[in-house]
């Protein structure tokens, strides 16, 4: 297994404790290849930030709920994180992880014009989980996620990026790779497999 302490991170990666995923344009399709592949016995919490228009109701839980083997929900403020659950950030709120592994929402300023922002989720989750964190940046037309991924790497977490040439929009994965060259770039099927392996189990790839 590749560890992430090759370029100056503080500690080697530990067993996975939490997964964070961020994506923008094109990422629903990417996620359709990843989230449903996570098996029923997947024991880690999965937190997902997708850039959404601020004033519309999010349909993500409706889209992914029926397709996934794991329970899917919109994250709630002060909710304790549960393993084997997929949480989506609500539109118009940032999603943050507290050090006691509860979630907070915030209405802080948008980052790269977006609220929720991937950077904020990744940075706070990196603080909470340290080298137990696994982070994934998917397709999108933004630089959000790059600083966040670097923060994950800094604490010794493992970083994955959708291979830019397989992304619908390559800017976001490219920015993430520039900010965090130690990240592994993989296609979506490989990401699904890698995440399942992180939790010590095989994915159910369709």
């Amino acid at each position: 297994m590749k560890t992430s302490n090759l370029s100056g991170s503080s500690s080697a990666s530990a067993p996975a404790e939490c997964i964070v995923i961020g994506g923008s344009a094109g990422s629903i399709d990417a996620l359709i290849n990843i989230l449903p592949a996570l098996p029923r016995d997947f024991a880690l919490p999965v937190l997902v930030v997708i850039h959404l228009p601020p004033n519309e109701r999010s349909l993500l839980a409706e889209i992914f709920g029926p397709r996934c083997q794991l329970p899917v929900k919109e994250a709630e403020d002060k909710e304790p994180l549960a393993g084997g659950t997929i949480y989506f950030a609500p539109p118009n709120y940032h999603l943050l992880v507290e050090s006691d592994f509860t979630l907070s929402l915030s209405s802080d300023e948008p980052v790269f014009y977006s609220r929720p922002a991937i950077d904020i989720l990744f940075e706070t989750a990196a603080d909470a989980y340290g080298n137990g964190l696994r982070a994934v940046v998917l397709t999108g037309a933004s630089s959000d996620g790059a600083a966040g991924l670097r923060a994950v790497h800094r604490v010794g977490g493992l970083c994955f990026v959708q291979r830019p040439d397989t992304a619908e929009v390559s800017l976001m994965p490219q920015s993430a790779l520039e900010a965090c060259p130690a990240a592994r770039s993989l296609n979506v099927q490989q990401i699904a497999r890698e995440l399942s392996a992180q939790a010590g189990i095989r994915p159910h790839l369709t």
């Binding site: 002060k78 907070s104 802080d108 300023e109 706070t124 603080d127």
Partner: protein, 273 residues
């Protein structure tokens, strides 16, 4: 290691701010506070949180600037128009049965929420019998609220929100162009008392029929959320109304039994009779 040290420094900073200046951020959601302190370090040119703490203890002039960082001021008029529509359609008819009304806008920021309500109450013919209390801990924001001046480039959003909330007039009836922005009509705040009040450390100051406190509780931990909602419960008349932000619910609250959901998807609750 580094992460742990930072946590300790952060706790000490907040402790200093509390013991010396009575601003109590110790029960706030730390993930957000930590980010904002990191931003403050850059502005105050401090290499560490400890350095900022030392500066703060010896220079009271710094306090308002740090408080400005710690209190997020993001707001807009008629934010979440569906909330104002629900107030208009479901709550106002009840409020119309009272001869006089008191409304508490808690965490009013620079006044966007207050002016939205003042306009709503005027449109619904309730303004003349209402007293508004607009409170916040950010002195600068309160000053802005009292001025009622907003940047021109925000007005299109405000106007759109007002229309979507079921506005019965044109938003432009309520402001004049001034100082490179727009200035809201002072008659809208003639019946408003602006005051410095903390949901963390202050007590109830009036009996009210409606309290609206949006996007403040998400910055508190659960204990503080309970304290704030306890204050609202104490302030409200029997069968009075409480409106929260769209992602703030009574779900995890110690006071669930004291309220009934009134318009649940808009987070409007009614105190039990």
């Amino acid at each position: 290691m580094a992460a742990k040290t930072e946590e300790i420094e952060l706790q000490l900073l907040l402790e200093a701010l509390y013991q010396q200046y009575h601003y109590d951020f110790r029960g706030y959601s730390m993930a957000s506070v930590k980010r904002r302190v990191a931003q403050a370090l850059v502005q105050f040119k401090c290499p560490s949180i400890s350095a900022l703490q030392e500066k703060l203890l010896h220079d009271p002039g710094l306090v308002p600037h740090l408080v400005a960082y710690l209190t997020v001021q993001v707001s807009e008029m008629f934010r979440d128009p569906s909330y104002y529509r629900a107030l208009r359609e479901n709550v106002i008819p009840h409020l119309k049965t009272y001869p006089s009304l008191k409304v508490w806008v808690a965490g009013c920021s620079a006044g966007e929420e207050l002016y939205s309500l003042a306009i709503l109450f005027r449109e619904e013919g309730l303004e003349s019998r209402t007293i508004f209390y607009a409170t916040d801990i950010n002195a600068d924001a309160l000053k802005k609220a009292e001025l009622g001046i907003y940047d021109l480039d925000r007005v299109a959003l405000f106007t759109d929100n007002h229309r979507k909330s079921g506005g019965k007039s044109s938003l432009s009836d309520y402001y004049t162009a001034a100082y490179g922005g727009v200035k809201f009509d002072k008659t809208l705040r003639e019946r408003t008392v602006f005051s410095d009040h903390s949901l963390v450390s202050d007590s109830v100051f009036a009996e009210v029929h409606l309290v609206t406190c949006r996007n403040v509780l998400i910055y508190f931990n659960r204990e503080l959320q309970d304290r704030a909602i306890g204050l609202f419960e104490d302030a409200l008349v029997r069968r009075g109304f409480m409106g929260l932000g769209l992602k703030e619910s009574m779900h995890f609250s110690a006071h669930t039994d004291s309220f009934t959901p009134f318009v649940l998807d808009q987070r409007i609750y009614q105190k039990k009779g």
